[in-house]
Symmetry: D2
Subunit: 454 residues, 4 copies
């Protein structure tokens, strides 16, 4: 799927990383490379905080990791014992650099730094309670709420207790890394909705949102942080302080769209998941066609699976402009169809005269799909059969992670037939939810609230 | 005196402003012009927060007021009912935009914004106490300490009580404006060390560090905030909530150097004070000379007074380059004598062959004075008699306002004769402290700690 | 192939565009979108010049098209009758914005603007001659040489004569658009080495380096400019002023690597050419394997062809980070292997345990290939068979277009077997030149000097 | 006078500098300091070109000297044998960095660099002739015209001949420095309208617009370049190649306003000239008053002279905000009276109750004067008598140097009495032209075209 920024569509939320230990590696440099690998999770701001015996230092601001972290800034942060970092996707109107993470504060328990991916659903209640006893909020972010909860609940400097306590109070979906002067904490809410994984590098520990951040620095995957687990890392190693059972509810959209295909989330390859979605999709409403075309980049793996199962060869039908990353928004001057044109073009010679199976991973408003179908027909496609490797997207996220409103979702109000007519495809089919869940294997603990609000 | 930034010399600290009411004026625009008039009090960062029934908005960052507040930013803040603003001088290594003011937070008593000029001397004690009960500090600033004290001490939403309470706990030297959703508070510690004044404009109220900020927007001077006074401004007008007597200790350096000469501080004209310092200086160690030369800009008024009292005509002997404002530091490439050359040049034709009385307002390290004397001699001056319109500067500020260390102050270790030899002048004289105090009039409530540590 | 900026490798040279006519379209806006589509041809600087009865206006500078051309700048240029534009790739040390194009000058024949892609090989001789009669050169660019030749050779204001004359004198490889106050000229040297194509949009004329620039604005492809042709466009339409026969010598690297796959160059689909290279490559040194993996992005089409011809399924084995565009260079801090890691990661689950055919489009220094092979082996690949869809790259470009030196090219000194050992692949094969030429069809007029210096 | 940028008033044109020789000094560094001293002559752009046996290097762009020439840029240019530099004041709409000087080109006679202050009045004729023989113009600047004339007229590499030839053809007012690979040329048109002076530093030669640029680097004044003189500097020393007699016509505005008061132009102190203007002004329409107030900064010297001659003491009545340099324009948001308020404030205590003689150096549109008079009255002045140390400014410059149009000049259409009524002063008097000329001494060769068009 091509994410059209003018859609006000799904926000890929955030990415976090932490490194403990400087054996043969500079934690700052490792954090920087790791954040670059996680850049797809957020492009608005980035930041790194580091800690050693001389205290904490940090730098954060707006921009891509490779732009913001110049050699000069990295030099200022080098030589520490541990580091945590963050990339953030700001929603429209929430792009101020004041909102960049990690949040770093001084407290009675020393310096604290927090990087967070996710959302606290009972935030209003918690914030009101903290305010009542005098807490001030400089921003409206869940990360600032979280760090204040840590401070409020901490007794006798027992930081482990404070983290566990906070986990007990904060509902929602979140993966968080906390850095103190001596330790790193990693925690994941009991639903396990957002990913968080552990790696090793030269005996040092790494925590990251996805395994691709381990790969880039040559770290080995150790295991994932468990849903409801609090992990503490210090000079004596890694300690699992708690695993609090709960109803697991891993976000299936991480497999479908958010995560990088080369990541392995909770033991399941993102790439393989997408291929299997495509294989199962091939069973739904099969048609004869000459070529399977995936919408680059995120639907290419599903198209590959579709081709495998259907026997119809996969081919390249669309070219994606690699210079249309994040700044394309202003260039469209309010004409959203230009957003698609700036990013995609049909490869005419390979499309002309063919019956096409067009595989995408989701339909939100439907406008992007309509323009792609039109583009393929203009390039000479004889038929365009749209296949979506997920069920109709009907509801906004129960965790509040993605900002699209229900009323904008074409899947909320319209039947598949209606949508087919609206986007102008010859036929349209979605992957049924049971197939999607089935593709994920035996564990049935996935959150599919955006499809069925359950 | 020419402030040499390479000296690590005196920091002109900060300036504050607040406007309540939008009768015929846009508070944002008025705050912006007022801050421009106060720019001499701080050039590192600036900011404005505004309030109306829709809540608070703010913008702050590094740069001069006329550079940072573009028409686009002013437009974003326009149309409010009240505004507070701040200009800040960051010491070396403390230039991060994260330290910009006003500080704006959400609290149980709604939104709060604070702009502060000055220093809390028992900050460690207060901060430790607040931390103990869970408060987090995002920065190390006194303004953040102050706003947390407001929140901590506030009971039942009684903001007036909180401001009074904070005044009771926080020792030091400070002038502060606070904006809530409905009110503006202005307060000054009981020493009255830092200035704070009140003005009226179309029935609206203005609070500012100096009267020059009233002049620029056409506001009339109403009165000064009293030492130890808490003033509250709301829809019903201005209310003096408290005047807490204390030992007054107004900063005499405000008259000598910090404030603009066109300002009137606590009823006393800065310009007239400087002229009177010069008049009295003329009685000390009188010599025959052809011309009185003031070091531009801050010593010109004292030179004028010297000329009046001595009968020796004042003349221009030094030209100050008006493009050497704040960015001269890097251009010297570590050769501090260049700092003076980049700013000053002798007007040879008017200096050659003359016996010169050179009037400056202070000597810190002595290096600047030495270079100026050399420059005048090279331009042909027959004699250079240095006259300083203040006593030797011997001690750093008891309030911690200025960052120069005692060991760097030439006046700490050396006699006047020694200094004369070191800077190469023919004679050297300082204004005795009793004359300086005497020049200020009948009230003897001035802080002269930098001269005598009393 | 992943272009490693630290390699000092191939520079994708430049892209040009021109629009004549404002019927239902703003030429400035169309030029801007077209340049965005051509962005892959140069990312250092961009510029647009426009003309109408009030004269010429232009804006140019460093940066990507979507970054530099803000709505404000586009507004300044809007409302013209014709426009020409340029994107430029600056070699290392040649990034100054002074070198941005188009070049715009005033001359006896009015205003002139020129955008150029390519290189004049007898530049020293021509420049010396022009200097001899007094011409000054502000830069060392061929575009400035060209515009001076236009001016020097123009007699009686006959611009068509000047363009033809210049074509006769300037040897080398170039595609150029010229804008006068009333006309647009498009010309291509007789070798036809660099592409240049014509399109129509609402009756207006478009000239562009590639057809993808036509597609983005919805223009129809009309035909290509012929090798050795001078085209003139004015109010009366398009006029072919000259076709000067010559030995055609189209750059085969445009098909292999430079151009976008969705472009059609001189009637030949870039995408189809790459697929055919892959098909023919499958006949060379066939091995049994489980999966064909293309190096994204430029070698994916060749991998597709290899899969078709070999019957071995194509799969995704490498993930390319889409945020590693142009600024990755500084992030590697002099460690070039990081350049590859910042861009590529193996998709472990899809690679592990498999015998891989790894298809890339070329090998320059060999370092990138070595790291990719290592990465796949570390991900568990049992075998890695490297297949290159072009012959060994042995010589730098005779037209001087690409800056790599012969001594750095691994293909110059080493046999295929040696290279196989150096990069650590199990087997290695290149596409023979005759197959490459054969794949291009019946016309044998391609330049393959980088392979065989003929 | 306070130059109101919204006035579209007088542009201080440009400043030039050149250094030949590296004996104990880095020419680049010396040029940079010299340009800083000349910053008052132009704040839009700056640049330095350097030459040594390895050829020429240069850097130029928009911004103040101390902002643009960072240590990094200076380092790139360091270590040369000679340097030339330029500061430029761009008129409204002419601020593009493309117009920055020096202009540096390659030609048949090697590299050439030119920095120019002034204007060529027969430019259209010369430019047309050069165009006719094929010359292209990248800009519309006289400097580019000049450098093309050098190239065109040069025969057999005789650069001295080319410079003399160009001097013979180019009419107008200009001071120019030219750098070749081996030499520096300095020339001044025969009217001597613009200043140009020579200095020595450690045996090296310096050429600069004003002596203040010599002072800042410690160079000794050697002599001025004569009107109509061509000076050549090379390894063998300084050579006067030609003095071409002509009607001298030195710009009296240089003494009144443009030059720095610490400069000595053609043997006449700028400061002393201004003082003498003031002394003579005191004889015109004398009135009783309490204090003479000069408008800072440029009229302070004249006020000093007025005070000397009248016996009325000089005092400070206006404070000038030192942060209102060049960026004040946007802050006024189209309300020009704010431009004055942003820069000036009355020193009330020193003004209140007094009869004031207000001395300024000129009146252009009259709006600034009106606001200053109002400001002093609002501050309590009992009377304000305006005295202008020059005649009414009636005509724009015959050399085209200053861009104000005749119709905007209040002195063109209105009598002194009318102007007095319009600006609201009690009385108004101008210095008669004969007194102004008389003040300059015995030589009557001054251009006063702006006063009398003669």
């Amino acid at each position: 799927m091509v994410l059209n920024l003018n859609d006000g569509g799904i926000n890929e939320e955030c990415g976090v990383i932490a490194i403990y230990g400087d054996n043969g590696v500079d934690p700052t440099s490792a954090a920087c490379y790791g954040l670059h690998a996680l850049q797809h999770r957020g492009q608005t701001s980035c930041g790194i905080a580091v800690s050693d015996d001389s205290g904490m230092r940090y730098r954060k601001g707006n921009g891509l990791v490779i732009d913001y972290f110049t050699p000069k800034i990295l030099e200022e942060l080098s030589g520490a014992r541990s580091a945590i970092g963050h990339v953030r996707q700001g929603r429209k109107g929430q792009e101020s650099s004041i909102l960049a993470q990690p949040i770093v504060v001084n407290s009675r328990i020393g310096s604290l730094a927090v990087s967070m991916n996710g959302s606290i659903t009972n935030r209003e209640e918690l914030m009101a309670d903290l305010k009542q006893s005098g807490t001030l909020f400089h921003t409206n972010t869940d990360a600032e709420l979280f760090i204040n909860m840590l401070s409020r609940t901490c007794i006798s400097g027992n930081m482990t207790g404070a983290v566990i306590s906070t986990l007990a109070f904060a509902k929602g979906s979140y993966s968080i890394v906390v850095m103190t002067d001596k330790e790193i904490y990693a925690l994941r809410d009991s639903s396990g909705n957002k990913p968080l994984t552990l790696g090793r590098l030269n005996g040092n520990w790494v925590v990251a949102s996805e395994t691709c951040a381990l790969d880039i620095i040559g770290a080995e995957h150790y295991r994932d942080v468990l849903p409801g687990e609090v992990v503490r890392i210090d000079d004596t190693g890694l300690h699992s302080e708690l695993v609090r059972g709960g109803e697991q509810n891993r976000c299936i959209y991480e497999y479908l769209y958010f995560s990088r295909p080369d990541s392995i989330i909770d033991g399941k390859s993102v790439y393989e998941s997408r291929v299997e979605f495509g294989r199962r999709l091939a069973k739904v409403l099969p048609v004869k066609a000459d070529m399977v075309v995936g919408v680059p980049d995120s639907a290419l793996a599903a198209a590959s699976g579709y081709a495998q199962a259907s026997g119809i060869p996969q081919g390249d039908g669309l070219y994606k402009n690699r210079y249309s990353g994040i700044s394309v928004s202003h260039a469209t001057h309010g004409k959203p169809e230009r957003g698609v044109r700036l990013k995609l073009n049909a490869i005419k010679d390979n499309v002309a005269g063919k019956k096409i199976i067009l595989v995408d991973d989701s339909i939100l408003k439907g406008t992007t799909s309509k323009w792609i179908v039109e583009m393929l027909r203009a390039a000479g496609a004889k038929e365009v059969h749209m296949r979506i490797s997920s069920p109709p997207f009907k509801y906004s996220c129960i965790y509040g992670l993605y900002s699209i409103s229900n009323s904008e979702l074409i899947g909320k109000e319209h039947s598949s037939d209606n949508i087919n007519a609206m986007i102008g495809s010859d036929t349209l089919a979605f992957l049924p939810l049971e197939d999607m869940i089935g593709a994920m294997g035996e564990e049935k603990d996935f959150c599919s609230c955006c499809f069925n609000r359950e």
